[in-house]
């Protein structure tokens, strides 16, 4: 199984007010325009502002996320600070913490950091969905098929396998599909932009070939356990018979449904 960076859950599902503890990420900061303020700096910053001002700024951050997330575009911390947080950057961690709490308590969404290096965030549905394993929307259904193939094959597949799979389902990437339109574009562009898939060039291939992997949003949103369950039904087998996949599906907290992992990064 290929090594992947697992997305981290930014905020715990904890409604109680946290006491000062350092909420700031300890990792290296490569955002050239922004240095993460220390806890004491945040405290000092808060003292200079009225609650109303902080609430207003939190509201703006929430709005910004909701608009971006509607299009499934991840939010970059650099953009957030530049366009929304602006003068309040000295209390940035506090604002983000409050925004995360709002997403959880009001919207039932979880703020997830999908890229610790580049500081990118997405919103993921936090509500228990009973039918998550069988999506109804055709596009999601197709995506689910692709994700299943990748997962069962160990996490990475050459693109031809995916195209052949789709062809067998009468979804030909070379032709314009009635429902999906330009299938190749949907899979290699739309799904990739939304971070459901990764489409990476395999070096030294002629003609150029790519491979598919799960994207960061898929890691955060789709339950591997459910995929395995579905496979089990399909083949009339116990999911445990796929030892490797079963182990993977049930080891990491983010791969099972309704995770209440409190891993703070």
């Amino acid at each position: 199984m290929t090594q992947r960076k697992r997305p981290s859950i930014f905020m715990e599902n904890d409604f109680t007010q946290r006491q000062s503890g350092n909420l700031v990420a300890q990792d290296e900061d490569d955002d050239a325009t922004f240095t993460q303020p220390s806890t004491s700096q945040v405290q000092r910053g808060l003292e200079k502002l009225t609650p109303a001002q902080v609430d207003q700024k939190t509201a703006e951050v929430v709005q910004y996320f909701l608009v971006k997330d509607q299009k499934k575009i991840p939010v970059r911390r650099a953009d957030l600070v530049k366009h929304v947080v602006k003068d309040y950057r000295n209390i940035y961690p506090e604002i983000l913490k409050r925004a995360a709490r709002t997403f959880d308590q009001v919207f039932g969404l979880k703020l997830v950091e999908i890229d610790p290096k580049n500081k990118m965030y997405i919103l993921v549905n936090n509500l228990e969905t009973p039918e998550r394993a069988s999506p109804i929307n055709p596009k999601m259904g197709l995506l689910f098929v692709i994700l299943s193939v990748i997962f069962m094959k160990g996490g990475v597949v050459r693109e031809n396998l995916i195209w052949n799979t789709l062809k067998k389902l009468r979804v030909d990437p070379g032709e314009k599909h009635e429902e999906f339109g330009d299938v190749r574009k949907m899979v290699t562009d739309e799904f990739v932009r939304q971070r459901y898939l990764e489409y990476v060039r395999i070096p030294h291939t002629e003609p150029i070939e790519h491979e598919f992997r799960w994207g960061q949003r898929a890691d955060a949103e789709v339950s591997k356990a459910k995929i395995l369950e579905f496979m089990g039904e399909l083949h009339d087998q116990d999911p445990k018979t796929w030892i490797q996949q079963y182990r993977e599906a049930h080891s990491t907290p983010t791969s099972s449904q309704a995770s209440t992992s409190s891993s703070q990064r």
Binding site: D55, T58, A59, E60, V62, Q63, L66, V67, Q70, T102, Q105, V106, F107, G108, L109, N125, L127, E128, T129, P130, E131, R132, A133, S134, P135, I136, N137, K139, M140, G141, F144, V145, T165, K168, L169, F230, E233, L234, H235
Partner: protein, 283 residues
Amino acid sequence: MSRQMGDNHRRFLQTMMVNGIIDEHGARALYQYCCETHHTQYAPDKLDEFIDTINSRLQPMFMQIRKGMSEDNGQQYYALVNMAETDITRMSSDYADNELELFRKTMDLIVGSENGKASSTDILNTTDSMTTKKLKKSETEHLLSRLVHDKWLSEKRGEYTLSTRCIIEMEPYIRTMYQDQFKECHICRNIAFQCQICENPTCGIKIHNPCVARYFKGRSEPRCPACDDFWPHEIPAHMRSPSSQQVSINRTVSTGITSSPTRRSEMARESRSTLVGLWSCLK
């Protein structure tokens, strides 16, 4: 005062976020579905309280679920509106500056018109006086269809009106920006675009078409409620709201969230078997 928000409220809100606007029957069905999915108490007559709870938590974000009437069918709708900016710039994330200018010009035409409509010809003609980068004919047509798709405008037979969602969301903006021009319905006191006007030159009150239907229902001789002159316009038939709940919920429920409880397990089974069918091709 506000009760705690539960997952039933959150699911309702998430669905509203995807759809933007929902009719009253859809709202009731969705409310029921959300409560049943999350095993919470469901009281059919408490929809407005349920929404109030959500609104009390949305208020700090300058968002609200507001109720309004459709000028076309007189039905009540619930729309999730953004009140942070009292200007159309809240659309600026989806539209370019010149597209927003054209939308403003279209709104000018509609507000200034007697029948609350703007023809596509008139809209195309206004591009001549644009101050930002002029839109070509094809670009204008494409923009108009996007605005209809995003539920800001409605179109019928080449004429454009403000959608119900647009009216509910922009009412405060319109009242401010078009202070002297906008019309108000004499019966319901809300802003009015498609309406009938009293012919008496000293009166001139306006009434929404559905409000006319409701107010004058059954009267043999309709008279203006303000000046008592004979009301000369054709009284539209009073439309009863459709009682079919099934229709609304199927239209409104979004991707990944299923239909009303009675059909939920059916649809889940259906979709599962579709996927199984797909997969068995590969075995």
